[in-house]
Symmetry: C2
Subunit: 257 residues, 2 copies
């Protein structure tokens, strides 16, 4: 059973996971960050010790949870190698394969919360989908149980599936947020408040709780309303980029009908 | 003051507006629809009379509210012409100019609820932004007051601004919904449930209540993470359309930084 945890990282994910795990009774014994301020700040919150050098990492924890930037995982994991060989080493990244931890320990895994974490927004961690993967059944079981102690939405997801989820999340979240930005920009340029659209955006999203988005598609492209589409393209002619996005997405909607 | 209303139309918008107005104490005296079943069904709900021929429209109402498909407004309005000359005639469309009602009556206007209405979803009409426009101050005031009796979010919006809102709404709602569909499709093809992404989508949208979406942008394009972008484009190679959308939107995000 996992009881004690060393947290590698001090950013949003490390903070949210550390707090949730502590709250569920796990002992965070140490926080590592190369930045002494960050290490101390999170360590204080978690009543843990802090360290800024990987060589000072405690060797007695059950789990080493690596919650740092994707491109730093490999190097940090390799530095842990000799210290944690029998323990569980897991990273929290959505897009990095479990293979990056190969050889670091006998027991490796992924403990990925599929959510966007911001400093100034509280999130109900119980509803966050966790994606669990491990290099052996025992480790998978332990990480799965750990996730179940803080969330009601825990899933076995291998690296390939995690990659698919990541691509899909880019469409559903990063790109839709960018469309909100474009929409805000179009309104701002004519001194109209983006607030006007928020009820409509909220309703668009609430609908997908109970319906497939494909079934709920509305708008000029769905109605094949060429007059409106052409009028909108004409309106957008001062911004070729927006015009191109409008044409491509309208076309894609028509192709999907 | 507007007291009695004839409702032209029996679809989602006519139904929601009719119910809300009745609930606020206005008298819907008649419902018109060419389809006798639809006319009767809504009339029953509103305790109104029904009619299926424009010639049978009562002439004594204060307001004739036209809530029908965009391309039918002109013809229906012209048929009302001789019967309603002193009364207020308003349509509920987002993309049709007020000018379409020119000559139909001395008093014309637009009474546009900026929301998407579905048959099987209740909506809190109080939060729906109403866009009001009229061809004279008195009519504007009367329509404004009417909207205020059912919503707390009432705005004076001319036809040009309404058009801008409509373009912006296509980006923010129709297109983002289509991205949700693409996302669902990508997951479905690999037997992963779209439910996995819903908490993330909800959080993406909740963030815009308190922050500008431009400030909240995240993801590979925002991080200029070429490795991930290229891996995703490679993953999407079997679907050139999705690949094109991914490339164009990633590019647009990078251009906006």
């Amino acid at each position: 059973m996992i009881k004690s945890i060393v947290l590698i990282g001090s950013g949003n994910v490390a903070t949210r996971l550390g707090m949730a795990l502590k709250h569920s009774g796990f002992k965070i014994i140490q926080v590592y960050s190369p930045d002494i301020k960050h290490a101390n700040m999170l360590a204080r919150k978690l009543r843990a010790k802090s360290c800024t050098i990987l060589n000072d990492i405690y060797t007695e924890a059950d789990l080493y949870l690596i919650a740092i930037k994707d491109d730093a995982i490999k190097s940090v994991a390799q530095q842990l190698r000799t210290k944690v060989s029998g323990k569980i080493v897991a990273h929290t990244s959505g897009s990095v394969s479990i293979d990056i931890l190969k050889g670091v320990s006998k027991n490796t895994g992924v403990f990925y919360p599929l959510q966007t974490f911001s400093k100034d927004r509280e999130i109900d961690i119980k509803k966050v989908p966790f994606c669990i993967e491990a290099n052996n059944k025992k480790t998978e079981k332990l990480l799965f149980e750990l996730a179940c102690s803080i969330s009601t939405n825990v899933n076995r997801i291998n690296s390939e599936q995690r990659n698919v989820l990541h691509v899909a999340a880019v469409f559903a979240c990063n790109f839709s947020n960018h469309l909100f930005s474009i929409s805000e920009k179009i309104l701002k340029d004519r001194k109209i408040s983006f607030d006007m659209l928020k009820p409509l955006i909220h309703e668009t999203v609430h609908k997908i709780d109970s319906h497939s988005p494909a079934e709920m598609q509305t708008g000029p492209a769905k109605r094949k309303d060429k007059n409106t589409i052409n009028a909108h393209l004409e309106f957008l002619k001062t911004n070729p980029e927006y015009q191109k996005i409008y044409a491509l997405l309208s076309n894609s909607i028509e192709n999907s009908l």
